[in-house]
């Protein structure tokens, strides 16, 4: 694996040539049927989701997407969903449960959108609801952090049985800029924050926050997107097969609960 610093990985994770959700859906899935709208008030294009065949079997696939140019970025709100995006995602996941389809989520977001309308329509409630409902889905869920996964806005699609990360993807409480700004009132100290935040796939595997790392081509996924997506495909199908085997003994919801119940365990001292 490459030996990049955390700040270098953040840069690679944000590289505009890096394959995004739409690329993965195009490369790994067939017969994709996009489903739009939250059935309450609007469609949020920063979340792309629908039904597709994955290795010949129906799945629900949902991801956050960034744009490749300004026009796309405005359309996709730079990959920052509002509550409608999370509610659409939940609608699709509940439907996957109804039809017994596995759920695959792809995460690449600077975070949930911090805007006036997002707040007015309950950004916090939408994320919270996803966390609660995802935790008890009766179908298997595999989440892959393909680029950057920041804040509750990423977690709202990542309460999964198996959480995978691309080798140079990052997953954290907040963007390094936001982190530096909150902690030191100085967003310019973001590179320093990167090193302290423990946001690389290697760090998170050590904490048990993720279950596996998907290797990237030398130098990063943007240098050979097809190879990166191929590696992701192998990891996702292996994860789904493993889960199916494990589910003969217990339920997907029970496995998922056990995994998240243990998060941050062993970080307390009784004094």
């Amino acid at each position: 694996m490459s030996n990049f610093s955390a700040a270098e990985r953040v840069a690679i994770a944000r590289h505009e040539g890096r394959p995004g959700t739409a690329d993965y859906i195009g490369a790994l899935f067939t017969d994709f049927f996009e489903q739009r709208g939250d059935r309450q008030c609007r469609e949020d294009a920063s979340v792309l989701g629908g039904i597709a065949l994955y290795h010949g079997k129906p799945v629900t696939v949902i991801g956050t997407r960034k744009g490749r140019n300004l026009e796309e970025n405005i359309k996709f709100n730079f990959g920052m969903p509002g509550p409608e995006g999370y509610r659409k995602a939940l609608r699709l996941m509940k439907q996957a449960e109804k039809f017994g389809r596995p759920v695959v989520t792809l995460i690449d977001t600077p975070g949930a959108y911090p805007g006036l309308e997002a707040e007015a329509r309950g950004q916090g409630e939408a994320i919270a609801r996803n966390l609660m409902e995802m935790s008890r889905l009766s179908v298997p869920v595999v989440a892959v952090v393909i680029g950057e996964g920041n804040s509750g806005g990423a977690l709202a699609l990542a309460v999964a049985n198996t959480v995978l990360m691309l080798e140079n993807a990052v997953y954290s409480i907040l963007s390094p800029e936001g982190f530096a700004s909150i902690l030191w009132k100085d967003a310019a100290r973001a590179p320093e924050a990167c090193e302290l935040m423990k946001l690389t796939a290697q760090d998170l595997l050590g904490f048990g926050v993720i279950d596996g790392i998907i290797p990237e081509p030398e130098g990063g996924a943007h240098l050979d997107p097809a190879a990166a997506m191929d590696a992701a495909d192998r990891a996702i199908s292996a994860a789904l097969a493993d889960l199916q085997r494990a589910a003969t003994l217990t339920s997907y919801a029970a496995m998922r609960f056990k995994k998240f119940r243990a998060m941050g365990g062993g970080t307390a001292d009784g004094n």
């Binding site: 994320i127 509750g152 990542a158 309460v159 982190f179 302290l196 970080t267 009784g270």
Partner: protein
Amino acid sequence: MINVFNQHVRHMLALKAMREGQVAPQEERIACPGCGAQIERKALLKNLYVCPACGHHFPIGAYLRLSLILDSGSFREMDAELASSDPLKFPGYAEKLEGVQEKTGLNEAVVTASGRIDGRKVAVGVLDSRFLMGSMSAVVGEKVTRLIEYSAKNRLPLILFAASGGARMQEGILSLMQMAKTSAALAKLDQKGVLYIAVLTDPTTGGVTASFASLGDVTLAEPGALIGFAGPRVIEQTIGQKLPEGFQRSEYLLEHGFVDQIVPRREMRAVLSQLLKLHA
């Protein structure tokens, strides 16, 4: 001060609540952030830290809060000894924790307990904004989760008072994971058909808003509390405009459909009691 509370408190809780009164600022007069009135300290205490002039609700400590809610002598604290072990070994964090622990007498930003309200047993947790802004550490998530599990196991109604600036930055991703952990525990409580009342107090923001604070069967808020996911400053920077008056306050959330009722501090115990009666 004790005159106001002694009908509800005794023993440890009374002592702890009194101590909170003593660690509060010692000035004789305190300026109300709501209306600017100079309020005598004693008058403020007597009025449960609510401005007598404009009704502004000052944040209060966890033990004082519990003393206003629980029946006399019914308070039994849980997991009081749990404290953070600085999981990321974040520079300066251990010292910071030590300082706050000393200053507040708390080991962490949440107090969890069992107790009774008008004789009905409940599981109750209160976040304390004096402790690193009530931020969600791994220990806060663990204590809240244990409380939810206690509530589920014993089929006791759960009450959580939220007061939080959001994530505990120094615990990074492990702080984030507490959102999933507490929400998953609430899913189990929900499946068991046990009542959960969320009470939002000033401020309730970030990861706490985006997890357990937003998942109540019944959601109450104290008047004028700041409640939101993103903080107002971040939103202003993002959208490049000033936010309207009253944005993200309790009354705004009520209007937008995210709160059942706004309940003044003096009436909170009676409203909780009524809800327990309705779910008995």
